[in-house]
Structures are given as C-alpha cells and as structure tokens.
Amino acid sequence: MQWSVLNFFFSTALLCLGNVLYAVAGVNAPGPVSLGNLTLGDFDTHEVVVNLCIFSEKVSGTYKVKATSLHSLDNQYRMKHEFSNQYMLYTLSFADNEPGYKNLAYDTYLTEQTTGGQASACEEDNAKLKITLVGNEVSGVPAGGYEDIITLMIQEE
C-alpha cells in the first residue's frame, strides 16, 4: 500500500515534469510600437508591423494565436485617448512564417500557424502582427496621445 502510494506520486511528478520539459512554447516581441503622428486629412490607412519570434519545441511547430486588448469594446480593438474617454478603432492581422496576412478577429484563435521549425532558441523573427488604423478614425476625436495594450496569446496545436 505504501509503495503504491509512492509509486503514484512519483509517476505523477515525472509525468508533469516531462510535460513541462516537452511542451515549451513562447513569443518574443519588441517593446512599445507606435503608429506615429497622425495628420488629419490623410485618409490613407496607418499601419505598423510588429516583428515577432515565436518558438516551440514541438516537432510540428504548429500553433494557434489570438489577441485581446485592454480598451476593447464589443470585440473591437480600440486605442484610448490619454485624457478622455475617446477611442479610435483599429484592426489586427497576423502572418506566420508563410507570406500573407490573415485577419486576427478579437479573441478568436487563428489556427494552423507554423513557426517554421524554430525551437526554444529564437534566432530570427518568424511572424508579424500588423496594426491598422483607417484614416477616418482620426477625425471626430480629440488631438493627443492614444494607447492600447494588446495581449497576444500563443498556444501549441
């Protein structure tokens, strides 16, 4: 009986440890990114691209990704004005190591993304997150600074 109990705890501990060692995944991103100064009358879209390094020790290197943001409302990404409750909407799109961006809908996993084989040592960027602000979002809101915090979630598939 005592041996069985010990066996149980040992087995459980080893299984958990094995799982942690095996399933390592992560994402490295730079610091804050900026869309810069936005000028009224420029109705082109404003974009900024964040280069990411996503790694996984899983052999296939496949993962899914989703994003949420601090100031979102009704499943829309928003940047908040520094002094008031005024917001600008923006969109996100994501590209893994294959060419082409896909829309990253709010809090919705984009599946079947691949790292291109990068393991825990992230040597080069292998994904991009594009933040897009359409020009007409710039009118109708106060001048000044806007910010948001995007949380990017990566999970192995």
Binding site: N37, L40, S139, A143, G145
Partner: protein, 179 residues
C-alpha cells in the same frame, strides 16, 4: 482483495493524470503596447461674405454669415478666434469708401459658436482674440462640412450719418487657434 482494489484505483488515477498531461499544450502570452498621436488641428473650411446691400441713412442693418470650423482641441473642439479689419482704427471695424477712400463706415462684429443655443458674443475688437469658444463636439468629418458658427456684422442707425453715398467695403481676416 482490498489491497488489489487500492492498486487498481491508484493505477487508474495515474492513468487519468497521464491523459490530462498529454492534452495540455504549451502556451505563452505577450503584451504589446501600441500608441499613436493625433496632431492638433483648428481651422475654418467655409465662411461666406457679409453683405449689407443698400442702406438708408438713419437705419440700422445686420448682415450674417455661417462658418464651418474644425477643431480637435479637447473633447469639445475648443478654439479662440480673432477678426481683424483691414481698415480698423483703434480696434473698431470699418468699411472704406470705394470711390472716396477717405470715408469710413464703422460697424460692429459679433460671433456665435452656437454652443448652448444662439448667443452672440459681445462686440468684438479688431485684432483681439475671442477666447473660450467651442464647437461642442468634434466634427466627425474633416474638413468641416456642417456649419457650426455664425458671424454677424451690424451697422448702427447713426453710423452712416454724414457719409457720402457710395459703396463701402472691408476685408476681415479671421484667425482660429487652439484655445
């Protein structure tokens, strides 16, 4: 019997933990701060000429014109506005005679930002800013397309006394800026 049952139970629990562990995929979160800055804009897109038409000596007259302003200063589109007369004298707005250029017809100017209903300002002084004006809400379109202010000029009933009959004109320079 009891001992075997315990071993069986422990084995099943262990198996359950194994199955659970195998289904937990690794995950990672990363926060990315995104910022931008909208530059300040305060400008007039439209204003119409103020036309009095023909005047009769001894009769007062008004002329009004609508204006369209865009301001993204603060949440209310605040601004200050300054009118300057090309023929001003000591802050008084004046029209100059087209034929006899030494003759001047004084007038007063008023501004209504239309916030809180129609209410004209006190008479303006040429070259002096009228502060604390606002659109009320920042226009959703840029440049401004919906008129949101009124300028009014007034010629008093005694202003034309002693002046010769002719056309009088003035050019007003209007400057808007963040408040």
């Amino acid at each position: 019997m009891k001992h075997n049952f315990t071993k069986f139970f422990i084995s099943m629990v262990t198996f359950g933990v194994l199955g659970l562990s195998a289904n937990i995929a690794a995950a990672a979160d990363e926060d990315i701060a995104v910022t931008s800055t909208i530059e300040s804009v305060v400008e007039v897109s439209t204003i119409v000429d103020l036309v009095f038409g023909s005047l009769s000596t001894g009769a007062a007259a008004d002329a009004t014109g609508l204006a369209c302003l865009y301001s993204n200063d603060g949440e209310t589109g605040a601004y200050q506005i300054t009118f300057s007369s090309a023929n001003a004298n000591a802050g008084v707005f004046r029209m100059k005679g087209v034929t006899a250029e030494t003759a001047f017809l004084p007038y007063t100017l008023f501004w209504d930002d239309q916030v809180g209903g129609a209410a004209y300002s006190a008479s303006l002084v040429s070259g002096v800013a009228l502060a604390a004006q606002a659109i009320g809400a920042i226009p959703s379109a840029y440049p401004c397309v919906v008129n949101n202010a009124i300028v009014k000029a007034n010629i008093s009933d005694s202003a034309a006394d002693g002046l010769q009959a002719q056309a009088y004109t003035d050019t007003i320079t209007m400057v808007v800026a963040a408040s």
